[in-house]
Each structure stands twice: as C-alpha cells, then as structure tokens.
C-alpha cells in the first residue's frame, strides 16, 4: 500500500523499528487506566524520546469505551498516527472491532479470556493472563481491576525495552504522597514485567532506545497553557460555566491563581473566579468586569458560544474588552462533547446578529496557547472589544511536549484609557470619537474622579459623545469607524508562520491543532516528491502575508477540521480574485487530525 511507504521503510532497518510507533490502549472509562497511560507516556518522555498522548474518551463518567493513544516518534512527529502499531485491548466491548481495524503485522496485547488470537492471524499477539496476574498481585478484590491497568504497563515496558527506573520515577510522580498506592502499582508493573520476560517471546519489531530530544521540555495540555498565559496576562475577573472540553482551563487557572495571586496571610486575592449559572451570565459578568476596567475572561465551548451570541454583539457595538476562550468540540448542538473539531470558526467570527465581526486568535501549539492568551488580553484592551481564542479539544485536553514558556517580555497593554489627570488636561471627553484616526476611541473607567469622566454605555445607537441617536449619519459614522478599527487590528494580531521549500508551487494553509499533522504531512509529501510551502494562520482578521502567500502559489490547500471548509471560505472572501486557488482538505470525524489523511487528500487532488 502506497500510503504506508514511509513506515514500511523504517521497518526494514534491520528488522527493528526504534522509537517510531503508536500504542493504542483500549479500556473502559472510569476504570482507572488514565494513570497507567500517563505513566507509560511519561516514562518514554523521560527517556528523551518525543512522545504525545491523546485521550479519546466518551461523554460519560464510567463504563463506556475509551482509548488512549500514544505516539512515539524519534523525528518529533507528535500528531495522532492514523495506524495503530501496538494495541492493548483491555475492553471486551470493543476488543473485536479494535483488533479487526489493525493493519497487518501490528501488535495486539490482550487478556486471555478475550480470545483475540483467532480473530486475526496476521497480527502479532501477546496473550496475557491479566486476571491471574492481578489475583497474584493483591488479595484485595476491589483493587484488582485497577491493578490490571498497571500490569499492562509492565508488559508493554518489558516488550519495548522501557527503562524500569523511568517507570518507577513516573509512578512516584503520579501518586506523589500516597506511599501505599506507589507500592501497589510497582508490584503490578513488576508482575507484568515478569510475565513478559518469562512467558512472552519477543515477536514484534518495536523497540525504544534512549534519546536526548526531550531534555528541558515540559509536558502540558493546552488548557493549562491558556490558564498560565491568562494568569501572567494579569487576568483578574474569570467567569465560567462548566463544559467539556473547556472546564479544565478554568479549573487549572483556579489552582494557579490560588497559589500565585493570593495573599497567604490574609487570604485576599487579586482575582475573582465566578462559576456562573450559565454562559449568558458568564459572558455578562466578563463584560461587566471589562467595562469596569478589570482584565476579564470567560472560557467555554460550542453551546456556550451560541448562548453568548447576544452579549458578544453588545461587546462589539458598545466596545467592551474581554477575552473568550472557545475550546472547540464537535458540533452541531451537543454533538460529540469529547471529540475534537475546528467547527466554530465562522460562528465565533460572526457571532451575534447584525453586521458584527470579531478578532479571533488561533493557537497552534501549547506554547501558543500561552503566548496568545497573553496577546488576547492586550488586544482586547487595545481594541476595546471581545477577543476570541479558538483552541480545541485536541490542543486543550491532550498532553503535548513543549519548550518551557518564556516570561512575557512586553508589559501589559491597557489600551487607550484616560485617567482623571489626563481628562483635566484635555478638558473634554468624548467616548466614541476617533481622535487618532485608527478607529479606536478613548475610554474612561467608572470610579474616575473627574466631572467629565462619566458616560453612558449602550447597545443602542450612539454618537461620538455616547448620546442616544437614531440619526442615519451618526449610525453610518459609527459603523464605518468600527470597520476602520477592525482593519487596524490587522496590524496588531499575530502574523502567520510561514515555512518554505525551494521550488514549491503548492501551498498549504492550516491553523490550530492541525499544525503537527500538517508538518508531518509535508515531510511525507516530500518523500512522495511534492514540495510544499506552508502558512499557518494565527489570527482573524488576516494580515497582508496571507495574500502574498496565496498569490505566489499555483494551488493552495486549506487544511481544517470541519465539514464546511469554514476558514477556506473566509480566505476566499478575503481575496475573491484568488478564490479558485483555494482548495480544501477536510477532516471532521472528531478524531485528532493525522498526517496520513492530509497527505492522501492532497496527493489525490494533485493527481
């Protein structure tokens, strides 16, 4: 099969495939497998090998199928790998289907009682007596199920040659402070290890070997990165309503704030986190706080974005700063809450009735989750408007390697705010006058001690002096200025990242969590003889680099994770003259995008 070309080539290297495979662990959610998978992933990381871990979990608390997929790749490709190389089939509900979907020659580790050997003869099987091993490891019946998960860690580690010192280290880290749990888990790992050593003859080609590619790196999920960025951005009013996959952004932020933004002596905090009664209230509170001068934010996902539509229009029209994190999940409606997608591009960009359009940032890595959180608060206050940060479940909830985040260089940009002294000097204040010609007016904050500071904010028609108006000319001026302001934003938002190759006539445009798959795909395309250039968008509105890029290429593929080619359409609207150059590669089944799918889709269109 042509599409497997690159993998096959690494297989032949002396029959050993080193540091280049995927492990897919199928379990039942709520069964405690998450710690095991983390231990496995971290051990690999500690051995210096690039790795990523993705949780494909159900919208359910316990009892339904869940998968954890680990990608180990010496070249640093950490997007999801489409093919499973090593399956750990612990879930009877899905075992048959799991094993049937393996490529020929893959590895299957499964419990004796599932009888998977018969299902596929072209797969390398390791059949493990998990129940027996668990029974031997403990006589506490309740614990056996949990321990089974750690037993497979031992089996996998032994088969692959993972350093057991690293396994122990990561178990100690995982269960810090719980001595009993540490002991028990070590026993379980050892049971697996022993079994594998004694009873399983190595039949597969997969091995790990120490490298030095993770030194100094961190492992973090995008939600934590957004949280850290927000804290260092100086956010002080945080409002939220729980929703998967965005909840952990605020929950982790709460922990960080509690630690770093609270006076331990008296318990007083330089922030307020409010769990609102719903998303309408969450965005209302964020806007109220932004209006009153605090750096404010809210975080949500699709359904919450829809509920915020009315208020966000107010933010646009009355010009109130706030930051909205949208950790996108699969829509429409409730959709698949625990699957990933980039489906809210158009809804966020256009959110609310009437002529509205918003600034949206598009983080493409955990590092950018951090840096764009910093940017977002600056942009919100500079442009006095709600700013979206469009993350997604894959980026937000999965574990990614990254360099440590740099301390922010730029001071906070609080935008055009006049204080009492400045007002006195000016002698006059008009809230919505475009003094500087950039479309951005000046504002004052409530509480400013000046008789001319006060003004009336409204979502209805208003003139430069913030007075109510229904005059046609006032309205035109206001709407045109808002447009001017939006155009000014093009010069302030993060520019795209462009990577070129000599002689490339084909360009790829992508954004957000697709980045890793696209980078890998470019290598695959190269191997197939297709040179590509790559532009990764980092913000809406677009900057001038985008047009240049499109102009320079014969054909452009916009890679994105939704059905309706939402970003492709936005780019087409930006440059109708070049519209026909823009084609789509769409991935929208809820699974994190993988390089192979992108490569195949581009190659099939290039033919």
């Amino acid at each position: 099969m042509k599409t497997l070309a690159s993998e096959t080539s690494s297989k032949v290297e002396q029959g050993r495939i080193v540091n280049n495979f995927s492990i897919h662990v199928a379990t039942i959610n709520g069964s405690g497998s998450q710690s095991s998978n983390n231990v496995l992933m971290r051990s690999l990381f500690q051995m210096g090998i690039p790795v990523s871990g993705k949780n494909l979990f159900p919208s359910n608390i316990a009892g339904l199928p869940t998968w954890f997929t680990i990608r180990v790749n010496k070249d640093g490709w950490i997007a999801r790998k489409k093919e499973v190389d090593i399956l750990v089939a612990m879930n009877p509900q899905t075992a048959y289907e799991d094993v049937m979907s393996l490529p020929s020659g893959a590895v299957c580790i499964s419990p004796t009682e599932l009888n998977l050997e018969k299902a596929r003869q072209d797969v390398i099987h390791y059949v493990v007596p998990f129940t027996e091993l668990a029974n031997q490891a403990t006589d506490q019946i309740k614990l056996r199920k949990l321990l089974t998960n750690m037993i497979y860690v031992g089996v996998v580690a032994e088969l692959l040659g993972i350093d057991f010192a690293e396994i122990e280290k990561s178990i100690r880290r995982q269960f810090e402070g719980k001595a009993k749990a540490i002991d028990l888990n070590l026993v379980a790992v050892d049971a697996g290890r022993k079994w594998a050593k004694e009873s399983a003859a190595k039949k597969d080609p997969y091995y790990v070997e120490r490298m030095n590619k993770t030194e100094g790196k961190i492992i973090i999920d995008g939600n934590a990165a957004c949280a850290i960025g927000s804290m260092f951005a100086g956010v002080s009013v945080i409002t939220w309503y729980p929703i998967t996959p965005s909840s952990s952004l605020c929950e982790q932020l709460i922990d960080y704030l509690h630690e770093y933004r609270r006076d331990e002596a008296n318990g007083k905090a330089t922030y307020a986190v409010i769990q609102a009664e719903d998303e309408l209230a969450a965005i209302g509170m964020a806007l109220g706080a932004g209006w009153a001068g605090a750096r404010s934010m809210t975080s949500t996902s699709g359904p919450g974005i829809s509920l915020m539509a009315e208020f966000v229009g107010l933010g646009y029209f009355a010009e109130i700063p706030t930051v909205i994190f949208d950790v996108q999940r699969v829509g429409p409606s409730t959709g698949m809450p625990t699957r990933t997608m980039q489906g809210d591009i158009l809804s966020a960009y256009l959110l609310s009735h009437g002529d509205t359009k918003h600034i949206a940032l598009l983080p493409g890595s955990v590092e950018e989750c951090y840096s764009q959180a910093l940017d977002a608060f600056n942009l919100a206050e500079r442009f006095q408007t709600p700013v979206f940060v469009l993350s997604d479940l894959d980026l937000g909830m999965n574990n990614w390697m990254s360099d440590p985040f740099p301390y922010p260089e730029k001071p906070m940009d609080r935008g055009k705010v006049l204080n009492a002294q400045e007002l006195e000097k000016l002698g006059k204040f008009e809230r919505y006058r475009d003094v500087d010609g950039d479309g951005i007016p000046y504002r004052t904050l409530p509480g400013t001690n000046s008789p001319i500071a006060g003004y009336f904010t409204r979502g209805s028609g208003h003139n430069e002096a913030a007075a109510y108006t229904e005059r046609a000319d006032d309205y035109l001026r206001l709407m045109d200025r808002l447009n001017r302001k939006y155009q000014t934003a093009r010069k302030y938002v993060p520019k795209p990242v462009i990577e070129t190759q000599a002689g490339a006539k084909v360009g790829i445009i992508a954004y957000g969590s697709s980045d890793f798959a696209v980078q890998e795909s470019r290598a695959q395309l190269n191997a197939e003889g297709l040179a590509t250039d790559y532009l990764r968008l980092r913000a809406i509105p677009f900057t001038e680099e985008l047009r240049d890029f499109v102009e320079k290429h014969d054909r452009i593929y916009v890679v994105e994770q939704n059905r309706d080619a939402q970003m492709r359409d936005l780019i087409r609207l930006e440059m109708p003259d070049l519209a026909m150059k823009l084609q789509s590669v769409l991935h929208y089944d809820g699974l994190p995008i993988d390089a192979r799918s992108v490569t195949d889709a581009i190659l099939s269109q290039e033919k």
């Binding site: 934590a224 330089t270 409530p446 904010t457």
Partner: protein, 350 residues
Amino acid sequence: MVESTLKQDAKAPNTNRIGLTLGDYKGSPSTLCDGCGHDAITSQIIKACYELAVEPHKVAKLSGIGCSSKTPAYFLSRAHGFNAVHGRMPSIATGVSMANKDLTLLAVSGDGDTASIGLGQFCHLVRRNVPMIYVIENNGVYGLTKGQFSATADIGSKLKTGVSNELPPIDICSLAVEMGCGFVGRSFAGDPKQLVALLKAAMSHKGTAILDVVSPCVTFNNHEGSTKSYKYAKEHEMPIHEIGYIPFYEQIAVDYEPGSAVEVKMHDGSHIVLRKAAKDYDPRNKLAAIDTIHKAIAEHQFLTGLLYIDEKKPDFTTIMQLDDQPLASLGQDKLRPGKDALSAIMAELK
C-alpha cells in the same frame, strides 16, 4: 462662562455636604411619557443621592432594556452608566462589582426585564448577594414594546386591547425573600417620602437590596381593570410602617411622628429606624415577611415598606475575599506574578 459664574454667585443654589447641587445629580432630560411613574422614581433617586451626598463618580448606574431601563440616563450624568441587554443586567452588575468593589452599584430594571426574561439572573444575583441597589420599576407591562403583559401582571387584569391575563403574577418581593435576599422593600412611585427613605436605606445595605416600586405606565396600563394603575395603586396601597433614615455622616431631621420602633444597624454604621404602623411587623422575621406578603397579595393589596432585612448575610465581595484595592485598579506588579513563579510552574511540568 463668565456669565454663568456670575449667575451662580448671584443666587447660589443649595449644596450638600460635598458641595454639589441637586442639579449635579440630574441627567439628560427624560424622553418617557408625561406622567410615567418611572420619572417620579428618577426624581427620588436624584434626591436620595443628593441628600446622602453620594459622590457621583463612585456610582455605576446599570440597567437592562425597557422604558424603566432607560432612566439611568436621566440621573447622575456624572456617573458611568451601562444600559445592557434585556434581562441580563444582573450578570453585568456582578462583573462590575468584582472589578471594582468600591463602586456603588445603582441599578434600575423593569418587571419584564427582571421577572420575565431576567428571572434566572435575578435569582442568582440575589443568591450571590452582590452588593447593589436594585430598583424594579414595576408596571405589570412591557412599556417599551407597547403594552404586553409581563410576569408581574395580575390575573384577570386587562390590556387596552381587551386581552386579559390568565397567569398568576410573580411577586418579586416574596421571591427575593425566598432566594435569601438580605434587603427587600416595596414602595410606590407616587409616594416620594417613603421611596426616598427606602432608597437611602438600600444604599447603606451591604448586599443586594431589592426595591420593588409600583410604577404605573400611564400609556399602556393605567386604565380600569389594571391593578397597576395610579388609581388602583392609590386606593389599595397599604403601608406597613414608615422609615426614618439616619445616615452615617449627618443627622437628617425626620418630620413624622415617632412611635414604637425597631432599630436596625446597617453595615456602614448607619441606622434604619422602623416605625410600626397599625400592624405589628418585624422585618427581620423571614416567614412573617413571606406570610404578610402572600396575605396582602390574596387581598389584592400592595404591602409597602421595608419588608425584610437580614444584615448578617455576607455579601459577594466579602465571600470572594477580594484584595483591598479594587481589581480594576491593580497594576502589572500585582497582576503578573514574577519570573520565579513561571519557573516554578515550568519546573513542575518537566
């Protein structure tokens, strides 16, 4: 300019403790219908703020959408104002309160804004006890959209078109008490004395102070058959007690007869004195409050006065343990943790 200064000298207007005139508490001219109850309430808000010598720049005026919600434009033009979206002012208020706890939040809403579209936010605001004065200008109709029933319209009341309301009214006061509100009062737009006293009392309460003010809509709900018309209200109003208010800064001469009294100490150290009317009413008894309100409703009467008060409930800024300085005024030094903090976080993630 010279002329106006001269004029001021010639006939210096009265000023309050902080040197402001009544005019300094006014806003732009009202565009409401002549005789609208809401305008009467605006006047009392102006008066209360003037007499209490509120510093206008320390006030944030908040409202939703409706005729009533327009009124913040008609008072305290020196204060910042925020006319939000329909029914969702409580969330705006909550955010403002968190951002700047030193502001006095003075909110005006309508019965449609609060009891129809805004009911959920209203209840949750009260539950959080966000410190603010929340005035509902209650006319039982949607004035601004031309007279449809709101959720406070009485059963059987009739619109000008002849359509009659078949659903029971929501009583904002008993609902507020049920939701644990620490200050619940009711008044009538045509009773300036009681209203101004209640407004002043509300401004001293640390927590959400709900003031339901019956405010007849002269255009759409001021006709026979409506229980929120001037005529009906004047006939059926039943004041349960009067309030004398002694502000913290200066004594105010009270001009009504003294009687047996319950003295309530407010958070800011000021006092409210409640004088019992014919009925023996203790506004600190929750169940009695609900009972009395419900009975009045059953008898188609408005129970006015301070209906319930509980000063013990902590307000939301207290619960949130906010920094002494308003969050909005904190600088980068307080908002952005140092390099060591980031290093520590990064180290943990390695």
